[in-house]
Assembly symmetry: C2
Homo-oligomer: 334 residues x 2
Amino acid sequence: MATIYEVSKAAGVSLATVSRVMNGNVRVSERTRNKVLKAMTELGYKPNAIAQSLASNCSNSVGLLVSALHGSFFGDMMSTVEDVLRRAGKHVVITAGHSDEEQEKQAIEFLLDRRCDALILHAEAVSDEYLLELAKGDAQIILINRKIDAMSERCFYTDNELGGYLATKAALDAGHKDIAYISGPLFKGDAKERLAGHQRALAEANITFNDALLVEGGYHEAEGAQGLEQLYRAKHKFSALICANDEMASGAMTAARELGIAIPEQLSIIGFDNVLFARYLYPKLTTIDNPIRLMGEAAAHWVLAHVYQQRGVAEPRNLFAPSLVARDSLVSAP
Amino acid sequence: MATIYEVSKAAGVSLATVSRVMNGNVRVSERTRNKVLKAMTELGYKPNAIAQSLASNCSNSVGLLVSALHGSFFGDMMSTVEDVLRRAGKHVVITAGHSDEEQEKQAIEFLLDRRCDALILHAEAVSDEYLLELAKGDAQIILINRKIDAMSERCFYTDNELGGYLATKAALDAGHKDIAYISGPLFKGDAKERLAGHQRALAEANITFNDALLVEGGYHEAEGAQGLEQLYRAKHKFSALICANDEMASGAMTAARELGIAIPEQLSIIGFDNVLFARYLYPKLTTIDNPIRLMGEAAAHWVLAHVYQQRGVAEPRNLFAPSLVARDSLVSAP
DNA sequence: CTGTTAGCGCTTTCAA
DNA sequence: TTGAAAGCGCTAACAG
């Protein structure tokens, strides 16, 4: 691998000049630039990104923390973030936190050790205090799907409460009165908010929230199935079920089928997130669209604008509104 | 951020000694080591990974190329690779190639520029020659889901032909004679191999392969749906459909339902890959298990053993055998 | 077992 | 507009 030194010799100029034409920010005469460029191509020169990072104190890398590397939700998010950032020549180091405090901290430490210029975090388990403390350090911290007031301009999130509200409202509008709810793990903010929206919609319709119709799940398909079975066994009647994400809705559908419950005739189901496979379920899942790709894009754009000082990047919005996607799994109450 | 220099001063030793206790490979007296350790914690010292990389000419990072960051197949793969490598303190830089030659090359260049110690590639579009050339360079190249004879010990792949064979064999064993097939894009090796397996099974059963029952898809759900519609419109009769991956099987199921075809009563469907959501489809998808997690693990272990000289890592196998997962979407022929 | 001393390849003042 | 030179923070001979 040719080094900058060899290029400078070949071009008959100094190291500094080569560096200047590489970075293009300082004026270099046309003639000199061409000599250097020629030498570079002849030698097949590639700048050493590591040396550049050390000297410039900028790693050109951004760390991304997600809960898991598989799953439609995070797939969509990683996909947009990587796309935007790589186009800008930045690289993305991805780690998984598995919704566990210790693992999230370790992953963040890891990214910090690699001297990432910015961290885009989908952190679920660590505390606000920890994140605030982190934000005081060298790396810029951006949060996805979480809002902390003291750093709200670096937070990109969905109005989960509204989403929960819309889901329940849709069921109510279809005439359902007995609505069961399988929530996400309630230690997570989004799970709490979605549930709060559900309760608000019920209250507006003068329906008292029935604790017996609530099951706490963990956002996985299996818990959707278990949740439905539990509700069914408890013999409380309900004609609609709202699941706090599509994965659980899918699990619930499968379980319902096995119990001989016809969907949507006997039971309407509504999901949340509108992940790719939602429309391939049978019946096609009515769900709440969670604009995760837009949030990823917003976070990446923020980094480009504020960390790398790129011009012409539109200032992203922070709050994203979910919306109902009406498909086949919700029908009028019998 | 404290530097090694400050630590050495605080501990009253030389730079080199601090470096030694950090890396732990050279003997340092217990007393000195403790002094250094103490100074480190007091200063909250964190080694600068970038400087380490530059000095040691080892970035401790491995690049991972996948076709897309979303989708169950790649999710599973990234997940295992990241898990194994991060446990070993290596970091994973992930890029997407989108099955496009130009984009794959760019992504690989990008990883090379970052001086990754090894590249684990799920490359679909670039040529064997290109990869062989690449393997001559500084970074070690590992291939997933692809075999090139000249570097077969660095290739980890499924026996796709066998998989295609097993799928078709299962349909045949269930009494089906007219078996349609929606393939992956035939410029991809795995798609070709799966199809070859299909044809071998037919030949063994003395059934002539009928070109009219073959549709070329692109591994996406939408193409599964289109493929089924196309086959249906062509009015060729078939009682079983084999799809070259689960996503297309899912799309085909949805499309069949819309055309009023009962599954599996009127049409049996078999997928390939056994991704997570396959068992949540309705009916539950009979499919071929593709041990993608094991391949990811194997690739990561190979890197640990051969690139980072870790001891005690079992030598991974290169060829992985797929197997039939019988669920509900395949039944006996009418 | 420990210290000295060159670098690793590049950026960035500071002068010229 | 260009060059000289001092680092960035760490590793790795080489001596002692």
